[in-house]
Symmetry: C2
Subunit: 364 residues, 2 copies
Amino acid sequence: MRELKVDLGERSYPIYIGEGLLQETGVMFLKHGIGTKSPVLLVTDETAGELYLRKVEDALAKSGYRTGSFIVKAGERSKSLSVLEDAVTAALEAGLDRHSAVVALGGGVVGDLAGFVAATYMRGIKFVQIPTTILAHDSSVGGKVAVNHPLAKNIIGAFHQPEFVLYDTATLKTLPEREVRAGLSEVIKHGLIWNAEFVDWCEIHAEKLLSLDPESLEYALYEGCRVKSIVVSQDERENGLRAILNLGHTIGHALEAVAGYGELLHGEAIAIGMVGSARLAAKLGHPEEIHAVTKRIFMKYGLPTSIPSHLDTEAILGAMMHDKKFVEGTMVFIIPTAIGTVEINKNVSTALVREIVEELKEEG
Amino acid sequence: MRELKVDLGERSYPIYIGEGLLQETGVMFLKHGIGTKSPVLLVTDETAGELYLRKVEDALAKSGYRTGSFIVKAGERSKSLSVLEDAVTAALEAGLDRHSAVVALGGGVVGDLAGFVAATYMRGIKFVQIPTTILAHDSSVGGKVAVNHPLAKNIIGAFHQPEFVLYDTATLKTLPEREVRAGLSEVIKHGLIWNAEFVDWCEIHAEKLLSLDPESLEYALYEGCRVKSIVVSQDERENGLRAILNLGHTIGHALEAVAGYGELLHGEAIAIGMVGSARLAAKLGHPEEIHAVTKRIFMKYGLPTSIPSHLDTEAILGAMMHDKKFVEGTMVFIIPTAIGTVEINKNVSTALVREIVEELKEEG
Ligand SMILES: NC(=O)c1ccc[n+]([C@@H]2O[C@H](COP(=O)([O-])OP(=O)(O)OC[C@H]3O[C@@H](n4cnc5c(N)ncnc54)[C@H](O)[C@@H]3O)[C@@H](O)[C@H]2O)c1
Ligand SMILES: NC(=O)c1ccc[n+]([C@@H]2O[C@H](COP(=O)([O-])OP(=O)(O)OC[C@H]3O[C@@H](n4cnc5c(N)ncnc54)[C@H](O)[C@@H]3O)[C@@H](O)[C@H]2O)c1
Ligand SMILES: [Zn+2]
Ligand SMILES: [Zn+2]
């Protein structure tokens, strides 16, 4: 088992990563001083719930906790205010009080929803995360929680740090292969913005990671979380540095929106976006090699590196302009200046972005 | 104009109280460093909006601010998640960004709703309060914001402090008389828990306050806010001392629920509750005089001091047991130990409370 401390002063918390940790849920609750008098609410989705809810309930019961559960449909649509209202109904029926904890058992959808329930129920109670997807390594650091509005993703939310995160790598074995690849895209992103050696390591260990070798997985998730936590520690409320975590996301979000949500997975869309940023880097005078390496690694992971040709360029640009990161005629982009380092460039012209989008459609 | 600083470290903020302050809205925005580049969203209800929205919009426009507005139906039912969703639609349509502010123009309902919008929109933006009821002196201190759930009041919320509070006493002239009395009930509560001299002052100045004499009103609101702010400064997240603000509320909330919301105004219900707490005090050996003074002052303000006889005693007790303040067989009560001081008593038996409720039904 590896342990990582996310350093946020009073709100610091540990992330435990290892195989078979689900069984330790109750013990970990006790260790973190969560009282057994108040009931716990487990929030999960139908898929993760079917697979792992019982195990977590049993582990908590063994340590003397009473639990209630709230199970949502799998998928992004569960991050809504109406599902939040139902979650609060479940919390009230389970008798949650101010000393209770809400647990997220599942991927990023469940994490964001349950975290927002914890942030707002009785104006904030304890929160514990048990991520069961690779992508959720990302959402388990930083305390961003939210639901969607019909007009905008993640627009209603809070910063609410968990008490701890319990990451059982064994749960990842049931993930569909496409979700594995897409999750690893975000792991590699953390290398690309901060740690060149880790990018190398990811390239060398591609097969091991894709086959979910426990030791490799443990290290990769640890390193992904570690990079994110360094960035977040320096900028908890997203005032500056934290923007570098958006490498590949300006293009990626636009592609998700234009393709129709669900068509491209988030990790796939940002893989394309990162190849685009690498192309932008070259145009702005940074080493050509960045593009070659970026593209090669995503191809190795079976991730897309070009924009599906049927997507309309102007629609993609239009979607970017709606993105929060757009400010008057020029756009804010995260640009790699070498493998393992990026800069925040607030001055990328719309014309240049159009060029990149066109090129990405032809990129093989 | 009086100015009160609510002392909360980094989150400290001033409350300005005086006649005619609405006109100064724009100037105050500038003074508090709110940028004119980002639009402002004004949240109000139909009644307060009809009376004062235009004035605030004009004052902001004169200082260079763009505004959007969101107008809800008057009344508690607007504190809901579905109205929150509509408010976010309005915020998005007005183009609010991370540097924008949300303004609450109205009573406590609008304050709680708009505050929760500000707390959660893009995970938290600036908030300004312009209270237009007397009761809202209470909600303008402490940063508690929330919406209701069909099963529980104020259960979904946050702590979100405003940038500043602008309290124009002139707006109170249009308040229905019953709202004036009910609002003053909460002002007197602040005297009863903390400041015996102020209780005297309130008794002497009853006529002046009820006729909305500007100078008396300014002082009373100042003093009410000041007491609350002292308590809140010592206990921002409601872990202990803050409970004393609930004087009269255990009984009061139960009466509101059993009478049917809207039947008794909040300030009326807690006036009865405070008389009940004074009776409890006597039973627990504290001076009899507390009851006499408490009752006399509320009578002077034309507030109810007895429980309407058609309300069922067991229903009232049942409602109290659902109250957050109830713990296993005994109840937590705020008990006056003299005029101007209270204690938190965690050991009041259900039997004694039943006795008090019965007596309150006969209290003339
Ligand atoms: N808060 C943050 O900082 C942050 C960061 C990144 C992403 N996110 C959010 O995370 C969400 C995406 O996360 P995600 O990709 O984990 O999505 P997800 O939660 O929808 O999970 C993906 C799919 O995998 C299924 N699943 C989960 N665990 C499984 C398991 N162990 N075995 C088999 N199937 C399993 C789920 O049911 C779902 O169908 C988005 O809503 C995004 O906004 C948040
Ligand atoms: N956040 C807190 O700390 C806190 C504290 C106390 C109460 N509250 C909340 O405040 C709410 C009650 O506040 P309230 O009594 O101000 O209720 P309210 O906002 O509903 O206002 C009462 C009535 O007066 C009308 N009104 C408002 N200003 C007016 C004016 N100037 N002239 C004429 N009519 C006017 C309103 O339209 C409404 O009909 C409750 O929801 C309660 O939960 C919150
Ligand atoms: Zn991402
Ligand atoms: Zn009150």
